[in-house]
Each structure stands twice: as structure tokens, then as C-alpha cells.
């Protein structure tokens, strides 16, 4: 039961086998009770991403502080879908920029309830180091994205509550979105809750709000530039995270998405971590 988000995963997908935007519009039967309805919406998003197999993609992040100064991060990401619902997906990220961390790589074997297994490869000393994965709320590469914003987001990691239906945010304001609250059930989250705007036509998220431990609005994420891959899987190629407290922001863009590239478990071992390119 996975809703893959962002990394390796910018995954929210879609089962309709046609290219037209109205393709997913066949009505989804949802229960009435707000808690089960919220969960059913998440399950529908998850169902539409099943069977993606494996992906390769390149990511760029532009970090901007409150004074408009920017810095760039680039990495390549590989993901292997684990079809067994008791296992999380596997991802391997290799950093290209900044240059001083080039070749550093991060391998994650995601779990459902237990903490993920994570290994870091440090190319200067050729060392593979198993690292703690409890660092959910820390910034990823100094960006406004936290590690938990990237991790494999299983349906079961949250409880849900449907709030209302309303017009989706720009640029798809002509559509209707389900607005759902979700509450992290896993340990060490930096959030009390998140609010998600899920497009009723394709069940893709258009916007997310993140509320910090004091239950105050911390960040908003806008997901745009959706592309349909393999005539089946939607991926947002532009994710813009704004920190409303600090005024900092991060724009994350995905390029050259490839599906079905023939990756296997062998490409997600600690041996593969050392040769990843």
C-alpha cells in the first residue's frame, strides 16, 4: 500500500490507459464517513501507481533564501517497486551537485512500520556507512524538503480525515479537489498534520500544507507540470516548497524520467551503492 511521493517516487499515479485528461474521470465510489473517505482517497491515489516497476530520473533543486540568494543541488534517482505490500520500495540517489559531494550516494530500503534501512556511500574514503533513519524532520541537502517529504509514503503511515471538496488550486482551478487532512502515525515526524488537495479527475495531489509540531502552518508545496508516463503513471515534474515562516523556498524539478529500465535488486545492494552513477 504505497503512495509514492517525490523521490524515486514522485509517484502518485493513475490507472487509466488513455492519454486524455478526462480519462480518469470515471467516478470513484467513496464512503461518506470523513475518516474512511480520506483513507479511500489515499488508497485510490496509491492504486493508480501500482505496477510502475522501476524508474530512473534526474532531479534538480534550486534553494532560495529570504534574500533571493540561490544554490543548486542535482542528483540522479533510481527506484525499484517492491510489489509485496509488506515491503517498501527501494531507492538509490546519487548526488552530482554541489561538486564537493559529487558521487555521494544514499540507498534506502523502505519499510512499512519499522524504520527504513539506509546506507550512505562516501566516495572520498570509499566508505559505506549504515545510517540512522530516524532523522525524518531534518532538511534534505539543506533544502526546504524534509527527509520525510521524500520517503516512501505508505497509506498506512497516516490516519485521514476528508474535510471538503473545493476548486483545485491554480493552474487547474477549473477542476474539483478533495481536501483531506492526514496525520502521521510513524515516529519522529516533524508534523502534527498535513492537508492535501487531491484532484478528483486523476487522483493526483496538487497542493500540500505542512503543520509543524505546534500545529502552525510551516510549509506549502505546489505540484505542477504533471506528465503521463507509460500512458499510465502521472509524475509532477515541478514541486515548489515554500517555508512560510522563514521565507525560504526550494523548487524541485524532475527531468528525463524513464520507466521499465530493467533495474533489479542487484542494482540496490551496498555493492551497487559503491558503483552507482
Amino acid at each position: 500500500m504505497r503512495i509514492r511521493f517525490l523521490i524515486g517516487s514522485a509517484a502518485f499515479a493513475f490507472a487509466a490507459a488513455t492519454m486524455t485528461l478526462s480519462a480518469g474521470a470515471e467516478p470513484v465510489a467513496l464512503p461518506d464517513e470523513p475518516e474512511t473517505k480520506g483513507r479511500a482517497i489515499a488508497e485510490e491515489t496509491d492504486r493508480r501507481n501500482k505496477g510502475f516497476g522501476d524508474t530512473r530520473a534526474s532531479m534538480r533543486m534550486i534553494l532560495e533564501n529570504a534574500y533571493g540568494e540561490t544554490s543548486t543541488r542535482e542528483l540522479r534517482s533510481m527506484t525499484l517497486e517492491k510489489p509485496n505490500p509488506d515491503e517498501g520500495d527501494w531507492t538509490l540517489n546519487v548526488f552530482d551537485r554541489p561538486r564537493d559531494v559529487e558521487g555521494t550516494a544514499l540507498l534506502t530500503h523502505a519499510r512499512i512500520l519499522d524504520p527504513d534501512d539506509q546506507w550512505m556511500y562516501l566516495p572520498a574514503v570509499k566508505r559505506v556507512k549504515r545510517i540512522s533513519s530516524v532523522n525524518k524532520s531534518g532538511p534534505f541537502m539543506g533544502s526546504e524538503f524534509a527527509f520525510e517529504d521524500f520517503s516512501s509514503t505508505e497509506v498506512g503511515k497516516y490516519s485521514y480525515k476528508w474535510l471538503r471538496d473545493e476548486a483545485c488550486p491554480e493552474p487547474v482551478a477549473d477542476r474539483t479537489c478533495h481536501v483531506t487532512e492526514r496525520f502521521p502515525l510513524y515516529e519522529h515526524s516533524g508534523y502534527t498534520r498535513q492537508i492535501a488537495w487531491t484532484d478528483t479527475t486523476d487522483y493526483q495531489p496538487r497542493k500540500l500544507e505542512y503543520y509543524d509540531r505546534k500545529n502552525e502552518l510551516l510549509k506549502t508545496l505546489a505540484l505542477t507540470d504533471y506528465n503521463l508516463h507509460q500512458e499510465k503513471f502521472w509524475r509532477a515534474h515541478d514541486l515548489y516548497m515554500q517555508n512560510v515562516v522563514t521565507g525560504k523556498s526550494t523548487r524541485l524539478t524532475w527531468e528525463s524520467y524513464e520507466f521499465g529500465t530493467g533495474l533489479s535488486q542487484n542494482d540496490f545492494s551496498t555493492n551497487a551503492l559503491q558503483r552507482a552513477r
Binding site: 559531494v101 545510517i131 540512522s132 545492494s269 551496498t270
Partner: protein, 401 residues
């Protein structure tokens, strides 16, 4: 200027491996240039030694991947020029290898670097590569090692075999270099236990696997020990010098890490048989990280490790009964700022070592690190006594391209 004849052969080899692939190759070139300044707190023990030093290092890496990234060639030469120390002015081929992955197998041939181990303070079980001691006295810089490596990932673990056909001598500072041993090391008189000397063929085996929270490694090494015994002798002019003696060793090692929440528990140890004597060394400890302290983005990590040698205090090993404590602060900012402060206490001799390292990025391509290493209360019988007047502060500014 010391140079290695490996350089030429490795370059030729790399050219050969590249030429063998027929298709036009996409070669990626990366590297850095890093000027360095060092200031020493005290005057040295040798008249040739100075209070300050300037130096510059550069490393370039040429990488080419093809066959869906299942075959690749990497050539990575390194060079340093040092104002004071002729031994520190050196060139080394850090890597020059052809590698190929086929399903769950990986093959490498050429010069490469391999790391074994889990601990932070000392790296006891790391044996494949020779230490490039003139680069840093922390022993973390390594010389490229010629090897043939075969590795396979199976359900029951990862097995790797290494054939090591050529031995690299450890680098030592010259009489004018700092930090250095008070008696200079005379490498012209280097001795080997094996009649084959540098051409003795060493080999090593490694098994590694992950069991839930446990990462376990087992290693075996047979060949020329990377750490020399330093024997007192005389040079041609009748001056007292240290002569490196490289013994043959058999070594069984293990390294284990348990990762549980924010705690890392670590252990490394080996049993070694060398010049008719057997001995054990071990190290272990914990690493704990306070993430997002006070609801900020900052992390604070603690490392505490203990190092042990069953021979007790001895002149060959400065870390026979030592405690190491360190604190790491990472604000997780866009500049990747990090500060690491550590101390070592020798429980036998009460010798103290302190180190502090601060680093951050400037712009996109500059990385600056400031490092201080200080020694205090080191008695004459401690193997680190030579370094006790070599406390220093060092600034490095790397420009990446």
C-alpha cells in the same frame, strides 16, 4: 619529488581498457585544486623545521561508463606540492581501474581504494590500502592499491576476493616535514620479511551481510602488513634513523554495526599472526545523534569509542588503551556547515590529543575547512611523543570543477 612508476603503467592500462571498447566514449572530467596553509604552535625539534608551511593539492578524475553503466573506467591521479617537505611533494594514482558488473557479480582490475570497517576514531580492520601518512596523520588518506577484485552478492551475503600483486610503502614526512617522527624514517633502507619484497602477492577475502539492524563483516588477509615495524638504525652518515620493516601477516577480522533508532553500536577487531607472535586489537563504541535540537534544523552527534591492544602499551601502537570522544554539530544549512570536535585520552600514559574541524561551502564550488590538532601531556614513553611539539592549525580552500 617522489613519483610512482605505477602512474605510467596505470595510464597505459586505462588507455588500453578505453580503446578496447570501440564505441566513442563519454568521458566525464572532475576534480579539485586545494591550497593549504599550516601554522605550528611551537618550534620543531629539528633545525630544518619551520613554524609555517604552504602546500597545494590537486586531484582529477576521468570517468567513463558504458554498456548501460555495467562497464566503466576511472582514472584518478592525485598530486601535492609542499613548500617544506620533499616527501609530502608526491604524486599518486589513487584509482586507475576497469570494472564490470554482470548480474550479481562485479569484477575490477587496476588500481583502486577499498574501505573495511565501521568505527570513527581508528580503522583497525581496514587493510587493503596503504596509508598516505604525509597527507594526514589521522591515517584516513590512502595510496592507490593495484588489485584484481571479484565480488558477488548472494542471498546469504556478499563475498569479495582481492588479489594484491604489488605492495605500496607507507609515506613518511622527511626531516623538514611536520608533523613528523623525531627520528627520520630512512626509506632507502626499507626491509621486508618476504624475499619477494614489494612483489609478494597478497590476498584478502571479505564476507558482508545485513541481518535486520545488524551489518556484519568478516575479513581475512594474508600478506605484507601495511603497518611497518619501525626499527632503530643508522643511515649512511651515521645518524640515528628509523628503518621500516614490513612483516608478513595473517589476519582475521570482524566489523559489526547495530543501527537502532538514533543509536549506532560499533565493534571492530582482529586477530593477527606476525613474526611468530599473535595478538588481538579491538575497538568499539557508540554514536548517538540528537536530531532537530530545540526544534531547529540542527543535529548534534556524539561519538564515544574505546581502543584496545592485548599487548598493552607498546611503541608500535599509540592506541593500546585509549578513549575517544567527539561532538559533531551540523546545522543542515545550504552551505553544509559542519563542526567536529574530538579528544583522545591514553589511559596508560595520560597523553591527550584534541582536534577541531570546521567546514562549509562558499558559493557553488568552493569548500573551506579549518582544522586544528593539539597534543598535550604526552610523556616520552608514549609513541606519539614525537608529535607533542607539532600541534598545528591548518586551512584548506578547495576549488571544485
Amino acid at each position: 619529488m617522489r613519483s610512482t612508476n605505477l602512474l605510467a603503467s596505470a595510464a597505459a592500462f586505462a588507455a588500453l581498457a578505453t580503446a578496447a571498447t570501440a564505441e566513442p566514449l563519454d568521458v566525464r572530467v572532475r576534480g579539485y585544486v586545494e591550497p593549504e596553509l599550516q601554522a605550528f604552535v611551537e618550534s620543531g625539534s629539528q633545525p630544518e623545521q619551520r613554524r609555517w608551511n604552504a602546500s597545494v593539492a590537486a586531484e582529477v578524475s576521468f570517468e567513463s561508463f558504458w554498456d548501460n553503466s555495467n562497464q566503466w573506467v576511472i582514472v584518478k591521479p592525485f598530486a601535492r606540492w609542499d613548500m617544506r617537505d620533499g616527501n609530502r611533494t608526491h604524486v599518486d594514482m589513487r584509482e586507475a581501474k576497469y570494472a564490470r558488473a554482470i548480474d550479481n557479480w562485479e569484477f575490477r582490475i587496476g588500481i583502486d581504494k577499498v574501505f573495511w570497517g565501521v568505527t570513527e576514531a581508528v580503522h583497525l580492520v581496514d587493510i587493503i590500502n596503504q596509508t598516505d601518512l604525509v597527507e594526514s596523520i589521522d591515517g584516513e588518506e590512502k595510496l592507490g592499491q593495484p588489485m584484481v577484485m571479484v565480488s558477488t552478492v548472494q542471498d546469504f551475503g556478499t563475498f569479495t576476493g582481492y588479489l594484491l600483486p604489488y605492495f605500496r610503502e607507507r609515506t613518511f614526512a622527511s626531516r623538514s616535514g611536520r608533523p613528523s617522527l623525531d627520528l627520520p624514517v630512512d626509506e632507502t633502507q626499507t626491509q621486508y620479511e618476504s624475499g619477494a619484497k614489494q612483489n609478494h602477492i597478497d590476498f584478502a577475502l571479505r564476507y558482508a551481510n545485513t541481518f535486520d539492524i545488524w551489518d556484519v563483516g568478516l575479513g581475512y588477509f594474508q600478506g605484507t602488513n601495511r603497518a611497518p615495524l619501525l626499527l632503530p638504525g643508522l643511515d649512511a652518515g651515521g645518524n640515528l634513523v628509523l628503518i621500516p620493516y614490513y612483516a608478513q601477516a595473517k589476519r582475521i577480522s570482524t566489523d559489526i554495526q547495530a543501527t537502532s533508532g538514533a543509536w549506532l553500536y560499533k565493534f571492530e577487531g582482529f586477530w593477527q599472526n606476525q613474526v611468530g607472535e599473535q595478538h588481538l586489537q579491538a575497538t568499539g563504541g557508540i554514536e548517538y545523534t540528537f536530531y532537530s535540537i530545540f526544534d531547529t534544523a540542527s543535529d548534534v552527534g556524539l561519538v564515544a569509542e574505546y581502543v584496545w591492544d592485548d599487548r598493552g602499551a607498546n611503541m608500535q601502537n599509540p592506541f593500546a588503551n585509549d578513549v575517544f570522544l567527539a561532538l559533531r554539530w551540523t546545522p543542515n544549512d545550504a552551505a553544509s556547515t559542519a563542526v567536529l570536535a574530538g579528544t583522545t585520552v591514553d589511559l596508560d600514559t595520560q597523553a591527550l590529543g584534541f582536534s577541531i574541524e570546521a567546514q562549509r561551502r562558499f558559493g557553488e564550488d568552493y569548500f573551506v575547512s579549518l582544522e586544528g590538532r593539539f597534543f598535550a601531556n604526552v610523556p616520552r614513553r608514549d609513541p606519539l611523543y614525537s608529535f607533542s611539539d607539532d600541534s598545528f592549525v591548518q586551512l584548506r580552500i578547495a576549488r571544485y570543477f
